[in-house]
């Protein structure tokens, strides 16, 4: 989703700076001065504020990721923080976490303070940089490599309160959700019904082993610099027991290619370097499951957009942006139909 976060208003900037100073001074046990706060466009659900912190010894470039109080948090912040540390230790590029603050009184919501990793995060700017520098295959390979390392983590080491879809097949859990969401459509859509039926029929069997997954890997949750992939962001939806192909498939959907449609992986490159990076860091690529999760992810996004419009129309979340979502459903229907194209021609007549 595109960012809808307001820029820092004049009055809020002062409160934010003093809130961050008070928290960091208490946290670090010495006076900290905060300067240069700017709102970042990365992250649509949360507000990211870039700032400098000076404790008299050194000056650090940091980011505060602030959850608005009204927002429903997917993972508890403590679980997200522990998951980020776990992934970082496994060699996944994740910005270093300096502090987690669960107290809303400092800046109006709980927040993380992380290392500021320089680079592009806005998808179109990321793609411009990647294609100017000719590093698309590098980034796709690095992303595959990062996911291989993530999926190799023992789920038993994941934080105890991380989202856990429960025992059983993650594909079945996702399909159940899609069936329920389809039933709530304001008007039934034949293309989505066909997609749902396809998913039921092609449902993959039980996984030999389930993995810790990120849950929202895509161009838009990455920091990319001239040297390639620098960080994988936004771990709020990470799960303890997922299907690793869900992460790979989500990263490959057309929604995240921003007109570079023939570059399957985030508009960066085709599938080969991504899969090769994944395999070389220990991942096992399963093409059929991968395809199934691409269909599921596309249907899920269509149903999510329909849900946003429903929330606008029934007054839960009135916004022109939510209203517009419903008119994007045909894009996803098209993508879905292309993914479930019948394999052999129909008999004539």
């Amino acid at each position: 989703m595109s960012s809808t976060e307001p820029d820092l208003a004049e009055g809020r900037t002062g409160e934010l700076v003093s809130g961050l100073e008070a928290f960091l001074s208490a946290e670090w046990g010495r006076p900290v001065r905060v300067s240069n706060p700017t709102s970042s466009s990365a992250g649509a659900r949360r507000n990211n504020v870039l700032f400098d912190a000076d404790d008299g010894r050194e000056r650090l470039g940091l980011v505060a990721t602030i959850m608005p109080n009204s927002q429903i948090q997917l993972n508890p912040m403590g679980a997200e923080a522990a998951m980020r540390d776990l992934a970082r230790k496994a060699g996944v590029p994740v910005p270093r976490l300096y502090a987690t603050c669960l107290d809303s009184s400092y800046v109006g919501g709980p927040f993380f303070v992380s290392e500021r990793v320089e680079g592009e995060t806005v998808p179109r700017r990321v793609l411009r940089l990647v294609h100017e520098r000719g590093i698309g295959e590098l980034v796709a390979g690095q992303l595959g490599g990062a996911l291989g390392r993530l999926h190799a983590i023992d789920p038993g080491l994941a934080p105890a309160d991380l989202i856990d879809p429960g025992p059983g097949n993650p594909a079945e859990v996702a399909l159940q959700w899609a069936g329920d969401a389809f039933g709530q459509l304001l008007e039934p859509r034949p293309a989505l019904a066909l997609g749902l039926r396809w998913l039921e029929r092609e449902l993959p069997g039980e996984l030999p082993e389930r993995s810790v997954i990120h849950g929202d890997v895509r161009n838009g949750n990455l920091i990319v610099g001239a040297d390639g992939l620098r960080a994988l962001l936004d771990w709020e939806g990470s799960k303890r027991h997922g299907d690793p192909m869900e992460d790979l498939a989500w990263a490959s959907l057309r929604m995240w290619r921003f007109r570079y449609d023939d570059q399957e992986i985030g508009g960066f490159a085709g599938r080969a370097p991504f899969v090769s990076g994944y395999q070389s860091s220990g991942g096992a690529f399963d093409e059929e499951r991968f395809h199934w999760w691409k269909v599921l992810g596309t249907l899920r996004w269509a149903l999510g957009l329909a849900g946003q419009t429903a929330a606008h129309l029934d007054g839960r979340f009135v916004s022109i942006v939510m209203a517009a979502s419903g008119r994007r459903v045909p894009e996803l229907e098209w993508d879905l139909l292309m993914l479930i194209r019948p394999r052999c021609p129909a008999e004539p007549g």
Partner: protein, 120 residues
């Protein structure tokens, strides 16, 4: 009957206003919403010119597929119900082609050009 401007002409004028002066003078916090609104006006403008013919084609296509005529919303709901629970590959194959044709007409209004990519 209304005098000119037509619906399409008015929508174009409103869109120009939103995408131009309003966007330029909107505070940063509102710009995304103004862009979205400007884009929606473009959709409505295309719907006002292309919509009636597209709906006629959708109705004909759906009627041919399900085997009887009716209102387009009823035919669409009937097809969705049949596909949701059905188990007839031959029918699904025919439906797929019809749904691709309908999606092309929907996209000509909602997102022109989106159907130029037919890959996965």
């Amino acid at each position: 009957m209304q005098y000119r401007p037509t619906t399409a002409e008015l929508l174009q004028s409103i869109g120009d206003l939103l995408n131009g002066e309003v966007l330029r003078s909107a505070p940063l916090a509102l710009q995304h919403q103004v862009r979205v609104a400007g884009n929606l006006v473009g959709i409505l403008e295309r719907e006002s010119t292309l919509g009636p013919a597209a709906e006629g084609r959708e109705r004909k296509r759906l009627a041919a597929l399900v085997g009887h005529d009716g209102e387009v919303t009823d035919l669409s709901a009937e097809l969705a119900g049949r596909l949701r629970t059905g188990d007839d590959p031959e029918f699904e194959h025919q439906a797929w082609q019809v749904l691709v044709d309908i999606a092309r007409d929907d996209l000509a209004i909602a997102k022109p050009g989106h159907d130029s990519w037919e890959g996965e």
